[in-house]
Amino acid sequence: MEKKVKHTIIAAVLIVVAVTLYMLPLLLNLDNGITLWQKNRVSIWYQNCLDSFFYYDTIAGDHGWPFWGYCFEGGILVLSIPDEIVFHPLSPLILAVGAVKGMNLVYYIMYIFGGLSMFYLTSRVLKYDWAGSVYSSLVFVLCGFFPLLQVYGFGNARETILIPLLTAFYLRSVYSNAFILPAALILSLFCIQSALYFPIVVLFLFILALVTMFYKDTRLRVRHRNLRVFFIILALALGFSAFKLLPILEFLAIDNGSRGGAYPDSIASASSFPFLLECLVKPVNSGTGTMYIGYLPLLAGIVSGIVLWKRLWRWLFILLIFIGLSFGPHAGIDLHRILWHLPIFNAIDELAKYYSLIVIFIICLLAGRVFPIIRRYLPGKPGYAVGGTLMVISVVNLLTVNSAYFNEYKTKIPERKNGEQRFVQAGLINYHSGDDGAMSLLALSLYRENIGILNQDYDRYTPQINNNNIVPRYYLIPRFVFLAPSTKLICLPNPAYQGESSFLRPENKAELIRVTADSLAVRVTMTGKDRLVINQNYSRWWRSSAGKLENYKGRLSVRLDSVGSRIVSLDFRPGNFYLGGAISLFTLFFSVYFLYRPGKPPHIGRGENAVMV
């Protein structure tokens, strides 16, 4: 076996073993959910859990497609939620092993992919030595950034661990067209799963394209292909994601406009130099932005940056830009404020959480560069000893400190009361919205009781639905509205409730007998013409087996003419998803044909490692 292959296999095994040890507390409790309360607050992980259960119940239980979220906000197009898991490439795992176990396994696999991605980037693209590649990979995959966001429940950060792979494919695609398609596919995964991390990653890639455009031959030259390839990758990624982007655009269009960031809110969690340092080297949970790597990897990164600044200036420049962005107004120039005027960027409310992704990625990259420096100044055995000690201490430290996050999986999730109770909806009145996690746990708890929820306050990037016309079966009101010192909820039956389906004329009777994520069935008994009103938001993508579908004061309704008893069925067929799917497939075939058609040699540039060394 070739020596290089042997080294790669050893590195891969090391990464897999390290990730397995790191996540052992989770792997031993795969069926468990996250601790109910952290820092006296409930993790938003329960929202991920709810999405996962909904996905599992719909496909495995109802044998349908998870298109219509009948239990969320009176009915929403599930596909349009930016970070739902339906189209995650690993989501079939959830179907195979169950909602919670599957979700936990997806995280485990993503960590392994993340570590291997970093090894690929550093060893094959940036041409690090073996020790440097392994060091960068282990520090990156074991840093505190990803597990913190995992236990906090920011599921959209899960795929960001693949940023080294995207960087690697982009850098290779500058020299070979063959890598454009994989780069676009990875970027499309960010687009359909990572919500607000997508613009951050696009910004990073854009800056990377800009700084790698310039190179010195006999004089300073500009390679326009770098920028061109970036735009091709972006366009292809958007094309691949069309099946999800079109529903998202429709969802954004129905937003009642109450969302939108206020700049002071967006900078409330801006980082600063002391906070950044604390997040990197103090083994405490400092909130979002925490990315503990410890002193040694940080020192290694600083030493590399100083000694090899001429070779690493591009990475140092990008690092400074993103540190500046995460500082917001605490930086000399408020770069975030400039970006904040752009759409999507103005929904970013936790600077440290988003911009830190690039900061920690580049610090880990730089840290691996310290090994050639050690060898240069300490040749022979002393260099091996110092390098080995650095590697062992750093990795053991990260393993012991950051794996504590995975000890949070202690909660047993109860079974869903499927079929035991008829589906109804509950409306929240002035719930304490500061606690998104508690609200998501409430939504999950109600879902498990077959109760949908209205007025759940989602993240800022999720539009608010105007569902005032949906009539809840119950009102859920915090006790503090009665001026009592309590956040406990009081449940009041709504006297105006007429059922999940009803007719305008009381002599006609309707009963919702089936509700799934792609179909509804109502048993009707009619004595004359009437309008059947279903207590779900109207969507033009419903199709009825009888009568004419209409929007009745924001609710779904069917005009029925014939008398007698029968079952009226409604099927959900989201045309924008089908159209988007056609665009995605066309983009895929088009790109495969043009990039890999026979007889077309891949574009070969100046050599794979000409720029980013």
Binding site: G434, L441, V481, F482, L483
Partner: protein, 290 residues
């Protein structure tokens, strides 16, 4: 002799019973005696804002008013109206026809008065009207407030501190004779009552601070801080509880690893402040029922 002994034992048992009953219900005189309430008058109102931690929910308002009176069985009853507002929209309104608070009872058991807020008025109401967002009014049974449906029973949510909320009112004390408190409705000389936020207690035990002035209608509350918990302590307690039943692996892991990620301390507090109060003309919004 035996009968005499039995009498002594019965007497001792009786004394013990009285002692324990007393300790269960009696509060320090200085607390109970200061819980005087402003008598209800038509037109009287008080409006509050409740801000959750991280300063959220700033657009919420809670307006309590006496919107009218009715004579039932020769006794005067008051219509108490609670408007629950978010932003510029009224979410729902609840109206209760009630006899009002029992002044003496409230002074004797301030915790009962304080812990329920104006919920007591709804629980003991003769009639209740719910007015929804579409301005449609519906009469609902007051019994619902005595035993509301518990759709969250046994769910994960019911185990959260939000839902488990517990305040040990027996520890309530008055801190200073008078404190000058500024709220959006003005500045008031207030009595400050407190249940201290304890460390090392059950994670659901919460602290409480109330500033009261007898000039303010209803409960006299000018400002209230509640849901005060020291989460670092809760965290510690939580882990200690878990460790008792944990496997050797979890114990070992927790011993070596978990303690290395300590939490920062922060109090997660909700603050209720008075944003308006006074007396206005009787509002003629006793709408006919549908």
């Amino acid at each position: 002799m035996r009968e005499k002994n039995n009498k002594i034992l019965r007497g001792l048992a009786g004394l013990l019973l009285i002692f324990f009953l007393d300790t269960a219900v009696v509060f320090p005189d200085e607390v109970g005696g200061l819980f005087t309430l402003c008598p209800l008058r038509v037109g009287q109102y008080a409006e509050y804002q409740i801000v959750s931690f991280e300063n959220q929910d700033r657009d919420n308002r809670y307006r309590v008013a006496v919107s009218g009176t009715e004579i039932l069985e020769g006794r005067e009853y008051f219509w108490i109206q609670l408007d629950i507002i978010k932003g510029s929209a009224r979410q729902i309104t609840l109206k209760a026809l009630t006899a009002g608070y029992d002044q003496a009872e409230c002074a004797r058991k301030p915790a009962g008065c304080l812990s329920e807020g104006i919920f007591f008025l709804f629980r003991t109401a003769r009639r209740i009207i719910l007015i929804d967002q579409n301005d449609a009014g519906y009469e609902i049974s007051p019994e619902i407030f005595s035993a509301p449906p518990d759709i969250l029973r046994g769910t994960l949510y019911s185990a959260t501190p939000d839902e488990q909320n517990y305040i040990d009112y027996t520890k309530m004390t008055r801190l200073a004779p008078k404190e000058n408190i500024a709220v959006p409705a003005g500045t008031f000389d207030c009595d400050h009552f407190q249940v201290e936020t304890q460390s090392g207690e059950d994670f659901t035990a919460e602290g409480l601070d109330v500033w009261r002035s007898p000039d303010i209608p209803f409960l006299g509350v000018v400002k209230m801080e509640f849901s005060k918990t020291n989460f670092a302590e809760k965290w510690k307690y939580h882990y200690e509880q878990q460790l008792n039943n944990a496997s050797w692996w979890s114990r070992l892991h927790t011993y070596f690893f978990v303690r290395r990620v300590p939490e920062k301390e922060r109090q997660d507090t909700y603050v209720m402040t008075l944003v308006g109060y006074g007396t206005e003309k009787t509002r003629s919004d006793n709408r006919p029922l549908q």
